[in-house]
Every structure is written in structure tokens, then in C-alpha cells.
């Protein structure tokens, strides 16, 4: 099980990498490689050129300001997991990252690689959707920014031009006091989730829901925001009845069938896990 032959390029500057990407038709960008290398070994993908961006300067790093979290696309998952400022600003990352693969894959895997691979159940993709992240990409035509909601084009395919590289992920911080919940269901520790649910939730002084975001991963081609439930909860006291109503909406989502799990089971899980994540978030927000 060896990869097909390819040429290897290790650009030292972003412009050089973009140049290589636009020059070669059948090229693959190599970030942490924790999905791509396996796909190369299995010959699921057979690029002629592999452009390794691990040597590019300035693509890795985390900065946390009063209202923004900025993460370079080549930041390793393990670095994110251990970044104290990020964990204070967005503690849901810690809960989510414990589910991301294994120690060895987090040591290499990057947030940008995870986003561009766009596995429907990937935790980091779900978190970016939860935070309404803004993605910065660079290409021949220069730099552009796009909202996370527009990033997935279709199944496991980001809306990037062939010469574009994801460089930066910007998350607006929830600066108000808020709670979070992240729950996922997988058969084994570290497996891709069958369903994962993330919740951010803030209460007003009266104890009613002031702001809420809910994301469900693993159900469809890309993680989806449960807007109906978010709207339902705003202004409400988060008692068991309303939380049950909110999680019931998760049972109505479009979900995919595959060899292992039916759409019905995924919807069922989405409902169950949404309830659990909401309860966690409410408890944490109080």
C-alpha cells in the first residue's frame, strides 16, 4: 500500500506555494497530512505534484485579542489544545479537541488541514461553524475573506479556487459570560463522530437566553447550525421543557445514510446529543 509517484515541492514563501498551485494541474496541498497521507497510501488520490506547506513561515500561530481569536491555518491541533489563552477565551475547544483523533495525529494535524479536508464529522469544522468564523484565503488574485457558512461547497469539498490556500481562521469571541457544551457520539475514542453537537449559550441578568449557537456535525455533508432551535431559545428561560423542544428540532434535520448508520439513527442521535449539549451549556452559563 504505497502512494503513486509524485513530485514533491517545499515552498518557502506563500507566493511560491500559490505559484506552484496555479502551475500544476493535478496538485495537492499537504498540511499536517493526517488525512491526505492515508489517502495517498491507499491511492484514493493520485496527484502528480504534492506541495508541502509545512515550511511556510507565519501560517502557524494563535493570537487572542479582546474580541477576536486568530488561528493560523498551519497551527497543529496539539498546539491549539495546549494554548492557555485560547482555552480561556474559548474553552469549548478543549472539550472538542479531546475527541479529535489521537495524540499522534493531533501532533501533526492542523486546523487548516481539517477545514480543507472538510470531513462532515470533523470537530474543528463544526467549531468554526459554531463561531461564524471568517476564513482568509490567498491566491493569485490576492487575499479574500469568506464566512465559514460559505466555505463548504459540497461533500468534503471547500469553495476554494485551485490556486487558493487557506491561511487564517478568525473567530469572533463571545465576550459576554457564556456557557458551552460539546458532546459527541462515536463507537471508539478518537473515531470520527457519528454525530457531534456544540453549543454556546449566554444568559441575561434575568436568567433568560440572551444568545445561543448550536452546531451539529456528522449529519449532513457539512456541519449545520440549528437556527430554528437557536431562535426558539432566545429570550426564554432555559427550563427542561424548552430545552426538550429545542432538541426536538434536531430530530427534523436532513441527515445522510451510509453503510453503517441510517439517517434515522443520525437524527435520533442529533436530538439526544443536542439536549445534552444544551444542558451542559446552560449549567455552565449559569
Amino acid at each position: 500500500m504505497k502512494p503513486g509517484p509524485f513530485r514533491y515541492h517545499a515552498p518557502r514563501a506563500l507566493e511560491e506555494a500559490i505559484g506552484l498551485l496555479s502551475e500544476y494541474g493535478n496538485a495537492k496541498l499537504l498540511a499536517g497530512g493526517q488525512s491526505l497521507m492515508a489517502m495517498l497510501n491507499l491511492r484514493y488520490v493520485m496527484p502528480d505534484d504534492v506541495i508541502d506547506i509545512n515550511g511556510l513561515p507565519d501560517l502557524a500561530g494563535i493570537s487572542v485579542t479582546d474580541d477576536l481569536i486568530e488561528i493560523g491555518s498551519m497551527t497543529r491541533q496539539r498546539v491549539i489544545e495546549h494554548d492557555a489563552a485560547l482555552m480561556r477565551a474559548a474553552p469549548i475547544f478543549r472539550d472538542a479537541l479531546t475527541h479529535v483523533g489521537h495524540l499522534q495525529t493531533r501532533n501533526r494535524g492542523t486546523i487548516g488541514g481539517s477545514l480543507c479536508h472538510l470531513d462532515p464529522a470533523a470537530e474543528l469544522v463544526a467549531l468554526c461553524m459554531l463561531y461564524d468564523a471568517t476564513l482568509t484565503v490567498s491566491g493569485k488574485a490576492g487575499e479574500r475573506r469568506l464566512p465559514m457558512a460559505e466555505f463548504p461547497a459540497f461533500y468534503m469539498t471547500p469553495s476554494l479556487m485551485p490556486d487558493e490556500i487557506l491561511t487564517r481562521i478568525t473567530l469572533p469571541r463571545w465576550t459576554e459570560k457564556h456557557g458551552h457544551g460539546f458532546v459527541e457520539f462515536a463507537r471508539r475514542h478518537g473515531d470520527f463522530a457519528i454525530i457531534a453537537v456544540g453549543v454556546l449559550l449566554a444568559l441575561d441578568r434575568a436568567g433568560n437566553v440572551a444568545r445561543c449557537a448550536i452546531v451539529i456535525g456528522g449529519a449532513g455533508a457539512a456541519p449545520l447550525r440549528l437556527k430554528s432551535a437557536e431562535a426558539l431559545l432566545i429570550g426564554q428561560r432555559p427550563d427542561p421543557d424548552i430545552l426538550a423542544q429545542a432538541s426536538a428540532t434536531a430530530r427534523e434535520i436532513d441527515a445522510m445514510d451510509d453503510n453503517a448508520y441510517s439517517a434515522d439513527y443520525r437524527r435520533h442521535l442529533a436530538g439526544v446529543l443536542t439536549g445534552r449539549a444544551l444542558r451542559q451549556a446552560v449549567e455552565c452559563a449559569a
Binding site: M1, G4, P5, L42, R187, R188, D191, Y261
Partner: protein, 782 residues
């Protein structure tokens, strides 16, 4: 040999958890597995495999691939024919009553029968280049309808899995007592439909072979990661038209077997034939995808049984049918189905039994035994039946088992069944109710209801399952051992036994060391090398400690006697005055002592001089011990589970296994075997599923899709050794390599039923995935 050691060793070696001889090399990365071997000039092989489950193979175009960089040869069956005596590998292991033309081809002929069947072998300078050339071969195929489900293949209108033969390989019936009359007026009768699936073996090291031809001498040296080196030599010689003097098989360190390496495969023949044609060494290392596609599996059995019991819950009879998915070929007989059928009664009194078995074809990779070898399937059926009785008669599940277990005073217990050799199945020793009671005590069975209630108060749903199994171990007809004291004083054991992780070398060294007054570390053990071991059968059926251990024991006893005779000549005293300890023979009370090396020197003789009276040339004995039938080790299991009724998640909280090993040579190693087997059973119960679609196309061909259990899913396992020495071998030992996996799935299902409030005996399809549990809960709610 350690010089001048005074510590007493020998008599206390057996029964001690001595450190493994194997560990240092493995822990330092210095062990030698198949792919670690490098022969000068070696080339690398890759196979083109069938992309479809059933098709006519009209033509293979290798012209492009032959011209690719690094490619030395691209060979199909017709290209290999000059080096082969036959297209098909003969049936391995004698078996009567099977049709002709059912064994695999070395490479596919004109009809492709499963996805993964090897069609062509590419030999190149590197594996990567060989795979490039595989991708460049084009096939002209005409699709044929496949049989994807063994049951569908039995319909009169079904397509044939192979055009030349019917889909049924063989029907047989196992029957004793009068089951039909027993059902006549039985107060408690019910039916169970059982679907059992066991996946593939998945040793972490796949199969592999390195064939090194020696054109000068017309010889072939083969290294194979196999469980049966002597059978490999025989089948290679048969297929290549060589005799035993022309071919040797050696086995490097083996990274697990579990049944997958207990077969001589088409790939091995093809690699050896290609190496001979090219006159250069060729290596093939199976990758994980190839293991999914082409290594044997156990897969599917469908049981439909009726159970009859009296009002006390005692079994009266079981009757029914079983359909066994044998796959596209029969490489080695139908022992898997036969074992499953004969395993059903297990450690229980079953007065009447009648099972009709159909062994039939699918367009899937062939099935032969994986660890457990059919016994888990038979055990599952019986344990589900006992739970069904408990459910219907409102009896405690443990009580039902107590009432049906063969009483301790009935040993030895002759069952009405015969093994595949035709010999009666006789349970030789053990107190089954006592072993069962020990498991209940270890899991605190009486205290469980309180634990369950306390957990329920916190919203947690717990369940407990108990059950038993019994495995025939130590299968014959023999195993070889030569024990030798070399002139250096080094003691060696040569045997046909084949280690693949169990610690066989350590165990055999312990047995030998005890006889010779040495420590296990003093003994070198050489396994399965056909250059130094003339005959042998290898590693299977939990047999090595039993059969090879007995051979080593007897050979070492003989060598001990030879040492004493020669020592008597050296020490000029009577044999009964001599001690043999720590590498020395001595006369207690005198300063007279000699090393084993000195003794070996006497026995080696000196040219022209007579050996001392009674001294036999060389200190050496060979014994090929022939066991008297199988020896049966009974085990009792208990598991506590917690279920999440919302997601269907099953969490195992604790696991207890008590298993009779006759006599533990090395208790730590026995426990290790039980741990591993239990976890294999957990995989079968909850995780491992080899999926195929309606076209018999495999859908789980990576470790991301086929779920082997990992550390977080596994609970603490409390493994307890019971010792009921068997009279059937001189060591009193029983095998433990497989027995730990027998009732695992059954006890887990029983525990889940309790936790979920389902009917006992209801969950009859394994593996049970979370959606299956949700579906069962939904159905129960109506």
C-alpha cells in the same frame, strides 16, 4: 551456560511466571519479523486482485505494465504454469464428502469468484513500482451475478457463486438422542433465530513471504509469516514439483496469527513460483487492505433452533438448522462449521440434539477458523437458549446454568458426539459447577441487585450477564520436539510448534528446564524451522503447550536420564547418587562435580575410543508426542455493563473470567491469553463487522471502518486460573489460547438485556451496534 551457579533451580520452574525469553528482542526493536528480512537482490511483489465479486475473466492485458520502470515480471496463471504442477492448490487437510474443484487457484483462471482474488503477480524493484504496474494492468471482464448472502444462494432460482458447481458444498447432520420425541410433550419450547458474524483475524502484522531460490543447487529457501511451516513446505513442494530436500521453510518472529496464517495461500505459491522463474529472491508483504480482501475470515452463520426444557429449566433437546457461509472456495475443509455444531452442548447436559448444517458458497473470501474456531458460535447458541429458558420459566439465569451444568462427579464425561477425527468427545477433567460458582463469587453475583438498584437511583442502567464455554484443546495427531545438550553445554529445543505471540518458547523452555535442573533462560528454543525440525504441525487449536509441551517434557526426561548415565561414568558413582542442578552434575557430600559441557563431551565420544558403558552418543532425544484425544478447558464468564438507552452505547464496567488450564506452566502467560481472547470476544460482540454490499463488494476495508477494540473501550478484566489437571497428557495441561473468547458475546448480550429491560435471549444477532440496541428498545416499547 551460566558458570558455577549455586542457586537451586529446576524443580520450581513449572508454575512460575518467569520472564519471557521473547521480550528483550521485541522491546528493543531487535526482533526479526518477515518484512525485516532482506535477501541480497530481493525483488518485491504486488498482486492485481479482482475488483468484482463474480465475473468471467476474458483477458488480462499486461503489456503496458510490463514496460514500466522497475518492473521485472508481470505473471498470470498461464505465465506461471511452467513452474507449477497444478492450477489449483489441493485441499489442505483430509476431508471426506466434499465435491471436486472447490479449492483456490494459484492465480485466477477464467472465472473470478470474489473481490480480492489474485489475478496477476507483479515483481518489481520496489513495492511502490510493483503497485504502479498493478494499476496499469487492464482486464476484460464479463460480469456475472454474485451470491452476496449465503441464504439467498440456497434458493432454487439463485445464481451460482461458481458456474461449475452448486452453491451447497456439503450438508451434514449432527444428531444424538431422540430430539423429536423430547419435543413431543416438553412443557417449555421456543425458537431462536440467531445471526452470528465474526470478522477477520487481523494480526497487526499481516501475512508475508520471502522466497529465495538457489539456482545452483536447484533449491528454494522460504521465510513465511505462518502458523504452519511444515505444511507450507509440503504444499510448496507439491505445487512446485520439488521434494523435501529442495525446499526449506523458516519462520521469523510472527506478529500474531489468530488463524489467518494457518493456511497455505495462493499468494505464497505464486511468490515462490515467480522467484524460481526469475532466479531472484522475491518478497511479498500483505498490506492491511489485502488482509481485508484476501486473508481468511469467519463471517456468517445463521442458526434457527428450537429449544425444549422441562419445568425446572433442564434442557430436554435442541434441534434445528445452521447455514454456514464458507465463501468462494474451500481451502481446508469444513472444520469451522463442524466445530460450531459440536460446540453447542458445551459444558451442559443436553439429552438430545439434532442439527442440520448446510455449508454453502458466497462470492466472498473463504472462511476458515479464526481464534475460537466455531466454538464461540456454538456457545452463543447454547447460552442464548439457556437465557431463553430463564426468561420463559422466570428463573434466575445463573440457576438455569447450575441445573444444566455437567456435575463434577460425572468426570470424565463422555458426550454422545464424535470429533472430526471420529473419536468420541470426552470431557476429561474439571468441576464445571465449581468453576461457575467461582465466577459468580468473583463478580459478587448476589450483590448485583443492590448495585443495580443503587445505580438506577442515579439514573444509570446496569446489567449483569453470566455464561460458560468449553473448548477442545491440544489437537493432535502429534507435535515434534528434540531436546539436545550440545558440546558447548547449550541446551536446545527444536520443535514444530509455531509461536505467534503466546510465549511458546518460554513455556517450552520452562518444561525443559525443569527436567534438566536449569532456568528457562538457559534453554534455546527453535520453532518451525524445517531445516532442523523434520516434522511438525504448527500453531492452531490451543495445542502448543499441550502437545509440544508434552513432547518436550518426555524428550527432556529422556535427556535427563542420558545425562545421569554419562555423569555416572564421569563421577564413577551410581546414577541415584547424582544431582543435576544449575548446569552441573554432582555427588552430594563430595567435591566432585562436572558441568553439562563436560557431560556432553563424554557423550560426544572420542574417535577410536569406546563410549563408557551405557552412554548413548550425543545427549539428545526426539519425541513426537501423540495426545489421547482433545483435552477440554471449561470457562465461566461474568460481565457488568451499563447502557445508554438514548444513544445505544454499551459500556463494559467489569469482566470476570475463570478458566481451567489444567495446570499453569506460566500463570502470567495464561492470564495474558485470557485477556486477549476476552477482548477478541468483545470485538465480536460489539465492534467488528466485515461489511459487504449487495454486489458482495466489501465495504469495510480500513481500520477506520472495521472497528477493532481499543484500550478505552475495554474494562478491567479479572482473569482467574482454575487448575484441574488432565490425565490425558504427562503435564496435566490444557490449552488456553482460544477458550477466553467463547461465551463473551453471549454474556454481554445477556447483560444488555437486563440493563435494557429486554427479554432474556432476545438479542441474537451479533455484533450488536448502537442502532441495533435502539431498535430493540423501540420495539420493546411497542
Amino acid at each position: 551456560m551460566t558458570a558455577n551457579r549455586e542457586i537451586a533451580v529446576g524443580q520450581e520452574v513449572i508454575g512460575q511466571s518467569v520472564p519471557r525469553l521473547e521480550d528483550a528482542a521485541l522491546l528493543r526493536g531487535k526482533a526479526r519479523f518477515l518484512d525485516d528480512l532482506h535477501a541480497p537482490g530481493q525483488l518485491h511483489a504486488a498482486f492485481l486482485r479482482s475488483p468484482v465479486a463474480h465475473a468471467h475473466l476474458r483477458s488480462v492485458d499486461t503489456s503496458v505494465s510490463r514496460a514500466m520502470p522497475g518492473v521485472r515480471a508481470v505473471l498470470t496463471l498461464s505465465d506461471l504454469r511452467p513452474s507449477l504442477t497444478a492450477d489449483r492448490i489441493p485441499l489442505q487437510f483430509r476431508n471426506n464428502g466434499l465435491p471436486e474443484a472447490i479449492t483456490p487457484f494459484v492465480l485466477a483462471n477464467t472465472e473470478l469468484l470474489f473481490v480480492g482474488e489474485a489475478i496477476a503477480i507483479v515483481v518489481a524493484d520496489s513495492r511502490a513500482e510493483a503497485e504502479d504496474a498493478v494499476d496499469a494492468i487492464t482486464l476484460d471482464l464479463e460480469d456475472l451475478p454474485p451470491v452476496a448472502d449465503v441464504r439467498d444462494g440456497l434458493a432454487t432460482t439463485a445464481p451460482r457463486a461458481c458456474l461449475d458447481r452448486a452453491n451447497t458444498y456439503r450438508d451434514f447432520e449432527l444428531s444424538y438422542g431422540d430430539a423429536d420425541s423430547a419435543f413431543g410433550d416438553a412443557p417449555c419450547t421456543f425458537q431462536l433465530s440467531i445471526k452470528q458474524h465474526r470478522g477477520a483475524a487481523h494480526p497487526i502484522e499481516g501475512r508475508g513471504i520471502l522466497a529465495v531460490p538457489d539456482p545452483l543447487q536447484d533449491r528454494l529457501k522460504v521465510w513465511s509469516s505462518t502458523q504452519l511451516s511444515h505444511e507450507a513446505r509440503y504444499f510448496l513442494s507439491l505445487m512446485l514439483g520439488l521434494d523435501e530436500t529442495q525446499i526449506d521453510v523458516a519462520v521469523p518472529d510472527v506478529g500474531g496469527g489468530f488463524g489467518a496464517k494457518y493456511l497455505v495461500y495462493p499468494e505464497e505459491i505464486a511468490v515462490a513460483a515467480a522467484a524460481r522463474q526469475l532466479g531472484q529472491p522475491v518478497k511479498w508483504v500483505e498490506d492491511r487492505r489485502e488482509h481485508f480482501l484476501s486473508a481468511i475470515q469467519e463471517r456468517d452463520q445463521y442458526w434457527t433452533i428450537e429449544v425444549a426444557a422441562d419445568t425446572d429449566g433442564r434442557l430436554l433437546a435442541i434441534r434445528g438448522q445452521m447455514i454456514h457461509d464458507a465463501g468462494a472456495y474451500i481451502p481446508q475443509g469444513i472444520n469451522l462449521a463442524y466445530n460450531a455444531a459440536t460446540a453447542l452442548p458445551g459444558p451442559y447436559v443436553l439429552p438430545a440434539y439434532q442439527l442440520s448444517v448446510t455449508v454453502a458458497a458466497t462470492n466472498k473470501v473463504p472462511t476458515i477458523p479464526v481464534r475460537g474456531a466455531g466454538y464461540p458460535e456454538g456457545t452463543f447458541a447454547m447460552e442464548r437458549a439457556l437465557d431463553g429458558i430463564a426468561e420463559r420459566l422466570k428463573l434466575d439465569r445463573a440457576e438455569v446454568r447450575r441445573r444444566n451444568l455437567i456435575p463434577g462427579d460425572k468426570m470424565p464425561y463422555k458426550t454422545p458426539m464424535v470429533s472430526r477425527s471420529g473419536a468420541a468427545i470426552v470431557y476429561d477433567s474439571g468441576d464445571f459447577p465449581a468453576i461457575f460458582a467461582q465466577a459468580l463469587e468473583a463478580v459478587d453475583y448476589p450483590g448485583f441487585e443492590a448495585r443495580r438498584t443503587a445505580a438506577a437511583a442515579k439514573g444509570r442502567r446496569l446489567g449483569l450477564g453470566v455464561g460458560c464455554g468449553i473448548k477442545g484443546t491440544g489437537r493432535g495427531p502429534y507435535e515434534s520436539a528434540t531436546v539436545r545438550v550440545g558440546r558447548s553445554g547449550q541446551v536446545t529445543v527444536h520443535t514444530g510448534a509455531m509461536p505467534m505471540g503466546q510465549g511458546v518458547k518460554t513455556v517450552l523452555a520452562q518444561v525443559c528446564a525443569e527436567q534438566l535442573g536449569l532456568a528457562a533462560t538457559d534453554i534455546k528454543v527453535i520453532c518451525g524451522d524445517t531445516t532442523t525440525v523434520p516434522v511438525g504441525l504448527g500453531g492452531f487449536a490451543s495445542r502448543q503447550t499441550v502437545v509440544a509441551g508434552s513432547s518436550v517434557f518426555r524428550a527432556a526426561s529422556d535427556v535427563r536420564q542420558q545425562i545421569l548415565v554419562a555423569a555416572a561414568a564421569l563421577l564413577e558413582t551410581d546414577i541415584d547418587q547424582i544431582t543435576l542442578n544449575g548446569g552441573f552434575v554432582a555427588c552430594p557430600g563430595t567435591n566432585c562435580r562436572f558441568s553439562l559441557r563436560d557431560v556432553a563431551e563424554i557423550a560426544a565420544g572420542s574417535p577410536g575410543y569406546a563410549l563408557p558403558p551405557g552412554v548413548w552418543p550425543g545427549l539428545e532425544a526426539t519425541v513426537n508426542h501423540i495426545p489421547e484425544g482433545l483435552t477440554y478447558g471449561m470457562g465461566a464468564h461474568a460481565v457488568e455493563v451499563e447502557i445508554d438507552t438514548d444513544t445505544g452505547l454499551v459500556t463494559l464496567l467489569r469482566y470476570v473470567v475463570v478458566n481451567d488450564c489444567g495446570r499453569a506452566i506460566n500463570p502470567k502467560l495464561v492470564i495474558g491469553q485470557l485477556h486477549g481472547a476476552v477482548v477478541h470476544g468483545i470485538g465480536n460482540a460489539l465492534f467488528e463487522f466485515m461489511g459487504f454490499d449487495a454486489q458482495a463488494q466489501p465495504t469495510t476495508t480500513t481500520f477506520a471502518d472495521y472497528l477493532l477494540p481499543t484500550a478505552p473501550e475495554i474494562p478491567r478484566i479479572e482473569a482467574i486460573i482454575a487448575e484441574y489437571p488432565t490425565p490425558t497428557n504427562p503435564l496435566g495441561v490444557k490449552g488456553v489460547g482460544e477458550s477466553g473468547c467463547l461465551p463473551v458475546a453471549a454474556v454481554i448480550m445477556s447483560a444488555i438485556e437486563q440493563a435494557a429491560g429486554l427479554r432474556y435471549g432476545q438479542l441474537c444477532s451479533i455484533p450488536l451496534a448502537p442502532p441495533d440496541l435502539i431498535a430493540a428498545l423501540d420495539a420493546a416499547r411497542g
